[in-house]
């Protein structure tokens, strides 16, 4: 059996004195798509950043491909996992291509400049994010959704094994929500990659994720989709009465 790409043992996460989860055991295998669901302020982003190694856990250990995060070099971590942030802000002017090339940073040594191969990867990533042809534009002139797709292209250019996405569908129109998540999920299903996304749209999670992490009241429940994507569970998470209804491609959840 292949070892998990990301594993957590007895993970405890707190933010500003509030518990996000405790004693969480997690094993994310290659080929799996996970959704993190929870109400506003439940700690979804905090948990995602902890799994990315950007902040230390309150308890427990996190392992990337069987090695504790604390023993890995920052650069090696950045080659294995990439993070799509909730927001991007551009303090300085930069072209779209430059913004995507920043994703190559962990693959370059200290004195190395981006070469033709890096540019090729960046252009491919832009095409995969439906932003081909915008290479020379200033990122500050892009719309919110276009900026989001450039951020996604930068993540693709980073070529991580594990994609950590914080609300990937935000700012995106419906067609891009579907096509871009479909492309990511398809790449993951091919085998050696995994994906964890924080998402507010339950039905997007149901459509693309085979596993879920539900955050509620300071506890996290992790498990396969068929166990956790039930009207009862999700209604408890969101404190809204949800009903399971038949959709064109499996069941959907709608408020009563």
């Amino acid at each position: 059996m292949t070892p998990p790409l990301l594993a957590a043992y007895g993970l405890g996460v707190t933010i500003a004195g509030n518990q996000v989860c405790s004693g969480l055991d997690l094993a994310i295998l290659p080929g799996q798509c996970w959704a993190i669901l929870g109400r506003n302020g439940a700690g979804k982003t905090t948990l995602l950043h902890t799994l990315a190694g950007l902040r230390g856990p309150a308890a427990g250990t996190i392992e990337l491909r069987g090695k504790p995060l604390a023993t890995l070099a920052r650069r090696d971590i950045a080659r294995l996992r990439g993070l799509l942030l909730q927001d991007d802000s551009d303090a300085f002017p930069a072209t779209v291509l430059e913004s995507v090339l920043v994703g190559r940073h962990p693959h370059l040594s200290r004195w190395q400049w981006e070469g033709a191969e890096d540019v090729r990867i960046a252009r491919e990533a832009l095409a995969a994010a439906d932003m081909a042809g915008t290479e020379a534009r200033d990122v500050r002139t892009l719309s919110g959704g276009e900026r989001r797709r450039v951020a996604l292209a930068a993540l693709l250019a980073q070529q991580p094994r594990l994609f950590l996405l914080d609300e990937p569908s935000s700012h995106l129109d419906l067609s891009h929500q579907l096509t871009l998540l479909e492309r990511l999920a398809a790449a993951v299903r091919l085998g050696d990659k995994s994906l964890i996304m924080v998402v507010h749209d339950v039905n997007l999670a149901v459509r693309y994720c085979d596993h879920a992490l539900l955050l509620a009241d300071g506890e996290a429940v992790a498990g396969p989709a068929q166990e956790l994507f039930t009207a009862e569970r999700l209604s408890a998470v969101y404190r809204v009465s949800l009903k399971e209804v038949a959709g064109p491609r499996g069941n959907l959840f709608a408020p009563d």
Partner: protein, 325 residues
């Protein structure tokens, strides 16, 4: 920017800098043609010309160039640190801290070599205040940046006023001269140049990391940048550079603001190009400002800071207006 287009850009800036240095060595109350300048520099010849070039104009040109490069590089580093293109050692009160630190050492009657140390201490304290307020936050809004700068600078202004009122008569003149920024008698032009080269050498290995840091702390951390330690390096380098510049040329404003901005407009924001380009262009700008300061009202000499402020204030207001849009 690719490396291929970076090289000609930096070479062009270096050539412009050399032209400015040549101009600084030949222009003045006694005009010396370029051929004679070269002879005076590298061969023995006319002893008067040699003395003017080697002992008066060269140290002054080197001091102006080095101080301008220091201020410009400090501005570029602070701008990445605070993620705001309005950051500048003068605007943020770092120069004021250096001046207050230097005057304090003078007031205490410390040895001359301790004055730069005092300036560094003051600059460090000032940067620490700004940096302490910046820790762990997103990009600085112009309002927050300017308010912090105004308050910190006003605080140092009060300290300077206090020192001047306490200072004995005999020291006062020297202190005032120092404050205005006098390049006519630079204390140690070559050591300032050394400080600039040292800081540039310390910053350049991290230029790639700075490109990631310019996207924000979290984004940089996700790309494998050490976002806990790198800001400390920037912070220390900016204080060191400001202290070196202020010790050489007094509190000259706006070089750290105008130059990185102009370079960014022309060459882009790739820090691997921006940092050396800002050092070269900043040196050239202050050198040209100094030549103008010597020439405009000759034989009277204007303080160099007046010229940079005349260019810098409108640039700053223009940038502020654009940021708010």
């Amino acid at each position: 920017m690719s490396r291929i287009s970076a090289v000609p850009a930096l070479l062009a800036l270096a050539v412009i800098a050399l032209v400015a240095i040549a101009l600084a060595l030949s222009a003045g109350s006694v005009a010396i043609d370029p051929a004679s300048v070269l002879r005076a520099l590298f061969a023995s010849g006319d002893s008067t010309q040699q003395a003017i070039v080697r002992e008066l104009r060269l140290p002054r040109a080197v001091a102006a160039f080095a101080a301008g490069g220091c201020l410009s590089l400090a501005g570029a580093l602070l701008q990445v640190l605070l993620r705001n293109s309005l950051a500048d050692p003068y605007v943020l009160g770092v120069s004021g801290g250096a001046a207050a630190g230097a005057l304090t050492t003078m007031l205490l009657g410390a040895a001359a070599w301790l004055v730069p140390v005092g300036a560094f201490g003051g600059a460090l304290a000032s940067t620490a205040i700004v940096f302490g307020l910046a820790r762990g936050r997103g990009p600085w809004s112009p309002t927050r940046l300017l308010l912090t700068g105004v308050v910190v600078a006003a605080g140092w202004g009060a300290v300077v006023a206090l020192i001047l009122s306490l200072a004995p008569e005999a020291q006062l003149r020297g202190m005032l001269f120092w404050l205005i920024g006098d390049l006519s008698a630079p204390p140690a032009a070559w050591s300032t140049m050394g400080a600039l080269l040292l800081a540039l050498a310390a910053a350049l290995p991290f230029a790639g990391d700075l490109n990631a840091l310019a996207r924000g702390d979290t984004a940089a951390a996700a790309l494998g940048v050490d976002v806990l330690r790198l800001p400390w390096l920037l912070f220390a380098l900016a204080a060191f550079l400001t202290a070196a510049a202020v010790t050489t040329a007094g509190a000259i404003g706006f070089v750290g603001l105008i130059v990185p901005h102009a370079v960014r407009l022309v060459l882009g924001n790739d820090q691997r190009v921006l940092l050396p380009a800002a050092a070269l262009a900043g040196g050239t700008l202050l050198l040209v400002a100094d030549i103008l300061a010597r020439q405009i009202a000759a034989p009277a000499q204007l303080p160099t800071g007046v010229i940079t402020a005349l260019i810098g204030v409108p640039t700053f207001l223009y940038l502020l207006r654009r940021e708010q849009r």
